[in-house]
């Protein structure tokens, strides 16, 4: 008799637990317009807003006079773990006639970058920041080696 009682209890318990699960998925099936979370990606590029701290790629800030804040101190190059940044410096002649180190080209290998943010934190003058672009695919690998300082730009006054 105990066997029969347990058997029937098993059967009813099984049916009840199955119905509970089915009620949940049935709710989702009938309310799918409200509950769906799909973002239809290539169509919604205009409305996409990424957080400002998103680590897309490293860019150098230029203001409206095409001036940047990089002194060529190579702190970012030393902080980078895998050699993504290469800084080429030159020597500028200041109005007093002294030689001062300045930035010639800031070579940034996007294909090696791990977006770890160590270079941004190391920069003493806040010259570089992370942009929010995330579509980096190209057909030619050479396009991923970028020069970050724009042609004809020079350092702003007053930055040490």
């Amino acid at each position: 008799m105990a066997f029969l009682r347990d058997y029937i209890k098993d059967v009813f318990g099984a049916v009840r637990s199955s119905l509970k699960g089915m009620r949940l998925t049935g709710y989702y099936a009938l309310h799918h317009k409200k509950e769906k979370i799909t973002q239809q990606y290539p169509d919604n590029r205009d409305e996409l807003v990424l957080p400002e701290r998103f680590r897309g790629e490293v860019v150098m800030l230029h203001d409206e006079n095409n001036e940047h804040a990089c002194t060529g101190c190579t702190a970012c190059e030393l902080a980078c773990p895998n050699g993504t940044i290469k800084i080429i410096t030159k020597f500028d002649i200041t109005p007093e006639g002294k030689k001062k180190k300045a930035l010639d080209t800031f070579v940034y290998h996007l294909e090696l970058c791990t977006m770890c943010n160590l270079c941004i934190v190391a920069c003493p003058t806040d010259a570089i920041k992370m942009a929010q672009t995330f579509e980096h695919s190209v057909f030619d690998r050479n396009k991923l080696t970028k020069v970050l300082n724009k042609p004809g730009s020079k350092i702003r006054e007053g930055i040490e």
């Binding site: 637990s17 773990p81 977006m115 943010n117 160590l118 934190v121």
Partner: protein, 384 residues
Amino acid sequence: MRHLYRETQIISINSSTTSPDVEGDLVINVGPQHPATHGVLHLIITLNGETIKKVEPHLGYIHRSIEKMCESLSYRQFIYVTSRMDYLSSHINNHGCAMCVEKGLQIEIPSRAQVIRVLMDELTRLASHQLWWGAMTMDVGALTPFFHAFREREMINDIMEETCGARLTMNYMVPGGVMVDIHPNFQRKVKEFITHFKNKIGEYDELVTGNVIFQNRMKGVGYISKEDAISYGMTGPSARGSGVQCDIRKLYPYEVYDKVQFDEIIETGGDSFARYMVRMKEMRQSLSILEQLIDNIPEGDFQAKTKAVLKLPKGEFYSRIETARGEFGVYIVSEGGTTPYRIKFRSPGFSNLSALDHMARGGKIGDLIAMMGTLDLVIPDIDR
């Protein structure tokens, strides 16, 4: 010397084509490419009909020599690599490394940084357990909970994106504290997430835990006793399912864990269902820790002042931390320079995987899949 090298080469070729010991046994490969092994894990299973007689894991398919790489990186730089080892608990791995460096430098962390670190840890633990739940139910056959789990995980990923800048491999911990301060929206979003998830976790139980088919799949499968779990070196929720008390947050408390109230979940079943219940209850405990801390973030610095170039004194330093999978240990041997002489990571998955053979004998292939699911293996963690 060359003769020795050739001999070892021949032995290794033979071991990958294991011939069965008994006539009539079947030897099949599960993986390295397989939908159910979470990563590249190669298992060689010896079967008798449908019953498993021996399981032999072959590792190394994703070995990237991380420990060797760290010997050429400075103490600030090597932390980002550990995100890529156990990518589901990346904050916790980074935290462990930062703690070890701080132990060597003997610096004090401001309390604001401690609380932020613990908040990030618990959020990561929740996210890892959610993904574990989704992936494990997918292996067992229920394909719907995977999407539901990812819906909740998206909320955590969005919180991380706003504060840290990245969604999976957040390099946010530095020796001394955290890299940048939390975003002003952080508290509000975490509170919204807590209320949302409290409703949904009941749904998880309704859909999967109470289901009779799921319980029959999990109960009595993959039993390991407490003594065997300790002898194999299992840690984390897999061991706590067998009754081993090994929660590092209780045994060797770090940061603010001694000031928050939470329970260490121990189950004594020892089978897959017990391990499953441990993780489900741990999710609730993480939620309660988040609730206790989110309103009480102290003001202050988010990073202690450290020198620009870090140099650890000569010696050996070890620190341990509780990831979502178990005890993660960082062991640094320093010769006094700017780069470590040797770093060794004790990964939780490696020891958990070694118990798979013991647990799987006598079961069926379906049981093996369920067992691997409840052990929560992440293969890049095992193969560093």
